[in-house]
Symmetry: D2
Subunit: 460 residues, 4 copies
């Protein structure tokens, strides 16, 4: 059976562990798992014979589906469940003619398709969480290691004032941890059983409907919603937006990596590996491939999320077009998110950090990045407006004359009146300046440590 | 001061209570509220004099801002906070020259702009929650009143099997209640203080940074995040996706209303009012205006959410373009959501329901909508595959010959062998058929009642 | 080699003829065709030996590529061309060691990838045009056959005034013809050669650069642009937007089909076929599958187009992420468009039209749909405002009392004063009313006939 | 009357000349211009009295519309035309009671609203074209002036090989010229008359329908389409996609400007002006505001285009929601495009170019950017594979030992065997290397000159 995860671009743009959960084979198995569990639930609730449930269930576990026929028939039927149920019925009949009568008992196509999707998503979420942990750990290690490593903070892509590389990493980590929480919450909030029958009333099961639904939720270990959600798509939309925000978060990290990896900046570099990031024609190139993959995902995710939101407007008890629009879109979005996450986790885990280049770049503007600090010190004496005018003038002079700002300021009588040379030295001391970042980094690291500890407890 | 909420289309597409929270005036006041609270927090932490804080604070409460100058200077500066802080400083100086020195102490433009936005969003969320309650109450009343009103369930826009209008309303209510929870959760999850100074380290406040931030969060009654989120935009993205899913939910309801209000269906109608839904040229028209407004919002929201996700990729410590892309997009999205919600709440509260037409439409197919029920009954004797073939044939014959399905089936010997005439009568009894929906409707209504009771307790 | 066109959902959502042009195999062959033609062009311009060109060219025609290795290496290299060129070089060397030295001479990866894509798109465009002709012909036949078939015109999904089904079909045809022109224009406007070398200057080819580019354009029968377009992506964006508008046009037709195919309306139906549009549980269902497929595409295309537009912001001489975002997005968009087109052309070609039901639905409102016509007639005597008030009152009365509007009007003394009974008869004559549509339909049909004749001339 | 163009952020994000064409006042005037011309056309075709036409026409020219009432009534009616026609009728009646009877004769609301929009768009397109000319001229001047100025070409944001700044500017210009053509083509392709009456048949005008339409097209100097396009929205979608691609093109230029303006790169800078691009807290900052504005537009445009495409799926003869979704979206998109264009034209016209810094950055990698040139030269002797391995090794060594590549290569015996020292000098000569770009730049400049000359001829 072919897998959309198997294309030539898959190893570059996706990640096998998640892409496989959305393969055609996994899609079919998800529906078969639903049918098997439905049969067992039906038996438990007394609506189908236990022996039939056993036959159906065993058949679903090892069904040899004719994919070509399935695809061809789905083109006529409008969905995969109709021909799959027909194939399954035939397979069951070969083994247990009586049981064949009870295949898909009480359910509608969408019950099988949606619950199958939920099972696929549950696997994808579990894999994603593990990879988010790997990324978070790598970011925490960076934040810890570079808590005090000065780097120039950049705003509007211009040098602003100093910060630390640990602070940058802590900012990334802070956001990644929030995404981990949001993805983890999907289990309860979004990945719930779908069972409603033709129009959501479970009428075909009569009074036993609720009992079957409850048994089925147990079988599949899925939360049981109050009513079916055939055309109430907020839950799948929430999966989409959660992964969309995750991708945006990864895209921000990737943009930062790409900017810092520029030849002109050189502060960071993706891990070196044979064949990694080369050029077909330029022998000296080392392209930031992981950043490109994550940024590509961040370019694509907004459109895919928009599709899932647009698809929410579904008609009456079963949508016409909107539901169909979800089938490839949500798997694609989750796969791309996982691909970006996986490649980025690799890149961050092996990140080449060049503190010397960071220091050199900080020096590049000859002290202009300390202008704000001096301004604040002067302002304490003169107020902010005068201090700002003073520092703007000194900064302009320093730039025009290619002189250190420290030197220009030292020669300024107004400054001299308000700031002693020792104080000036202190103001131009980068270590002192960036000390403010340390407690902030520590807060984030503490939250990470607590989350990891809680997770270990949970596992233990 | 002009308000984007004030345009000619605003009363149609938006809702004043929320649109006003995003007027230019409210935007400026949000930033002034930040500056006032920052001054008081600075005084509380001992970084600026208490008297300066008092002067700044009082000035912010009644500031007469020169909007034209503000707009013109923002075009050069690149944001509104820079010229606003300048105007504010001048105003404070006129009143208390000493205090003017301490305006905006320790903050950066983005701190004022983002926190101002958060304050605006908090007001918008509160108004939205109240309107969501109004919609939910109206839906609950419909579900209650029509718990047993039969209506044909439609899948793929074709008649499927019977359900109740109460079940439809319960489905809408179920989804709306989830959106209410999601919007309410934004307060803690997304609407938090922004304070980081130039690059997020609060360096300009030295050791007092955390104390000022904490005091400021108290002043504004906003959650205090571990670190600033200047370029970590997942929180504002979450606001966008939450409102995006809300709009999708409303769009689904509106699509259903529009379908049921078709002249050809006529089961539902928006409230009648003088001048409502007329035509410039057709005297007999009653157009479903609220549905159109909600569907327009549902058409626009996905693109606006996509913009907010795309804007997440912001550079280093301050974004170039991404941040600017948020400024009009998020207010527009929230305003459109509120407009759709408000108009839809009106329409649902005054909905014209025609149970007789529902009954007539159910009859239209001469019993075909009971084909599944008969099939299930036959299947209990013959298994699903044979039953399905039998009912497909009978259904085709009934359609081809324009005869009631009940009559065609009664004449079928196979059916007669498995189903008695009494059983057939029972199977074609719509009340019996839709009884399965009642406990489901009740579950949703019970959840709604519990939520309302909890809210009342909270208020009491 | 696996094909993304080969998944289980492909026959439902896509169309083989176009999907195959975007298979992995076709992607590789597109690049190999580029490399072959580049070698021949290089030989023609005298930059590589003719014998080398022959060897490379023959090798590209029958290359046995190791797809697994290609995919794996691309994940490191960041694109497919780098490992493909390496594999090709090895293959050529086995046959002609000397020739191996000249593989990919003077080109960069993006030259091969982009030109390969252009070749794939050219094939997809040709297939799309043929299918657009098929759809246009089917629509023209409908417009011709139903030029005079009355149907109620619906605005805001409410009965408005009569029109003809031919007019509806002509409206669809009018729009489809414009899309055909737009898709055909892509050949000249967008599907041009990409050849620039490392940074677009063709420097590696020295003075022979322009000559090689010109010869290569000839070889591939592609327009030659003034400069390479490595990071100027307006042309591929134009392909995306053109297909996006095509899908929107198809979606509009599909929405109309779905509305007219509702059980409650019953004026149109998709072709009947065994297994087509059935239900897994409801034996009487005939779902409009083609409409669903086209509406699904119309739900997805906007997001995919948005991605292509977002991807236009590419850095300097080679984009980081934006380019990568195009690779799956554009093929997906074009494939979905072709799928929608193919299924819709089938549905329109075999459309079941029910003029009797159209007539019955027109009668449903007991003449209200003629209210505007009477109003215009009265207005000629009384002016529009009075006439409008008059007709609104009469319409309301007719609805409230379930009486024919004709009868209510006949009893109104003001109407009687201005409109004779004969004139009233004339005004309620639907054939007369819809006569105005005929010349409009004819105009569109004439344009279609002219376009078809011109195309035949072109082929002859 | 309030203008959406008038908000605080308008001078930053939009451009008055275009934003004003979408003000509320202009929206109303567009509809009034339609009503005036409709009256004159009706008179010309003999369907209304000439005197009535004169009264209506003069009234439309100076109508004092009650905006508050208009907005309020539109919220009930569902669009602006219904209450506007009512107000207009009242105004006409005060002046000429007879004429009041013929206001809006034969048209439907959508005719007035859509044609009014087309008139607004025509004005916006004209202004946009002038500004595109200004940008193109500025880019041509840059390309001309820096035809030979070396700069490092960057791919994947890494130094690649040398190019010229003139080549970069020519690449921008090439794309901008294509957008100018596409925007200019909108006049014929998209900005056409809308007149169809209630459902597109012009039935209310009887046999005179086509004559009125033709006269109206003449009056308004608009192309006359074969049939009305009430729910065939490809033309407005084309306006959207054309502006969307324009914005993408501007975004690419802006991204390049932002990258080159980085403190770490310093090759380009936006014009300096008092108050431009400052910081509220950092005295030395000069932020690239125009780039930010254009990138913000490029972030927002894809979502807005997606909305216009999604809105294409409109029902039957008048859409429910889709049409409403266009009303604010298209003006917003065009306004943002114009804002980005205007600010970028300013920035490019006054761009600060630093050839010395370009030269210094080229030197930064100690000759690695010539690695490809040497590789090609060696490859001519050894074939590409060996040459590539050789140069990769030399490049790595040069980087590892911080030595010039020229020096490393000179010491390599294999290189020495194939390349003489003189040849090596030649290969490391940047002027020689970038000479290949000159004819390409010239082609683009020639096309620009021809276009400008043709435009002058057109005006003369």
């Amino acid at each position: 059976m072919l897998s959309p995860a198997a294309g030539l671009l898959a190893p570059l743009l996706r990640w096998d562990d998640v892409a496989e959960t959305f393969s055609d084979a996994a899609r079919v198995q998800g529906m078969l798992d639903f049918e098997a569990a439905l049969a067992r639930a039906g038996a438990a609730a007394g609506v189908i014979p236990a022996s039939a449930a056993a036959s159906i269930s065993s058949c679903c576990a090892s069904a040899r589906v004719d994919s070509a026929a399935l695809a061809r028939d789905a083109a006529l039927a409008g969905n995969l469940a109709i021909p799959l149920v027909r194939q399954l019925t035939t397979l069951v009949r070969e083994q247990d003619a009586e049981a064949a009568r009870f295949v898909h008992w009480g359910a509608t196509s969408q019950d099988a398709i949606d619950t199958g999707l939920v099972l696929q998503l549950r696997a994808a979420v579990a894999a994603t969480l593990a990879e988010l942990d790997r990324l978070a750990d790598a970011l925490a290690a960076l934040a810890e290691a570079h808590r005090g490593t000065p780097i120039v903070g950049r705003t509007w892509m211009q040098h602003a004032v100093p910060t630390t590389f640990g602070m940058k990493a802590a900012g990334w980590l802070d956001a990644v941890m929030r995404q981990r929480e949001a993805v983890a919450a999907l289990g309860e909030r979004a990945l719930v059983l779908q069972l409603g029958g033709a129009v959501g009333t479970l009428a075909a099961l009569g009074e036993k409907g609720p009992a079957v639904a409850s048994a089925l939720a147990n079988e599949l270990r899925l939360p049981l919603p109050d009513v079916a959600w055939h055309t109430q798509r907020d839950r799948v939309a929430l999966v989409a937006t959660t992964f969309g925000i995750l991708v945006g978060t990864l895209g921000k990290i990737a943009r930062d990596l790409a900017l810092h990896a520029q030849t002109d900046v050189g502060e960071l570099g993706e891990p070196l590996a044979d064949g990694r990031g080369g050029s077909s024609t330029m022998p000296h190139k080392r392209n930031p491939v992981a950043a490109a993959v994550a940024l590509a995902a961040a370019t694509r995710a907004p459109g895919l999320v928009a599709t899932m939101l647009a698809a929410m407007v579904q008609e009456d008890e079963r949508g016409l077009g909107g539901w169909h629009a979800e089938w490839e879109t949500l798997p694609e979005l989750v796969s791309l998110a996982a691909g970006a996450l996986h490649h980025l986790a690799d890149a961050v885990a092996g990140l080449r950090v060049d503190p010397a280049r960071m220091a050199a770049n900080l020096e590049m503007s000859r002290g202009l990045v300390f202008a704000e600090a001096v301004q604040m010190a002067v302002a304490e004496k003169t107020g902010r407006p005068l201090a700002q005018r003073l520092l703007e003038a000194a900064s302009s002079r320093a730039q025009a004359e290619s002189r250190p700002l420290r030197e220009v300021l030292a020669a300024d009588p107004t400054v001299a009146r308000h700031v002693s040379p020792e104080e000036l030295d202190r103001l131009f001391d980068v270590r002192r300046y960036v000390a403010a970042a340390e407690p902030l980094v520590d807060r984030v690291l503490a939250r990470h440590a607590a989350a990891r500890a809680a997770a270990s407890d949970g596992e233990a």
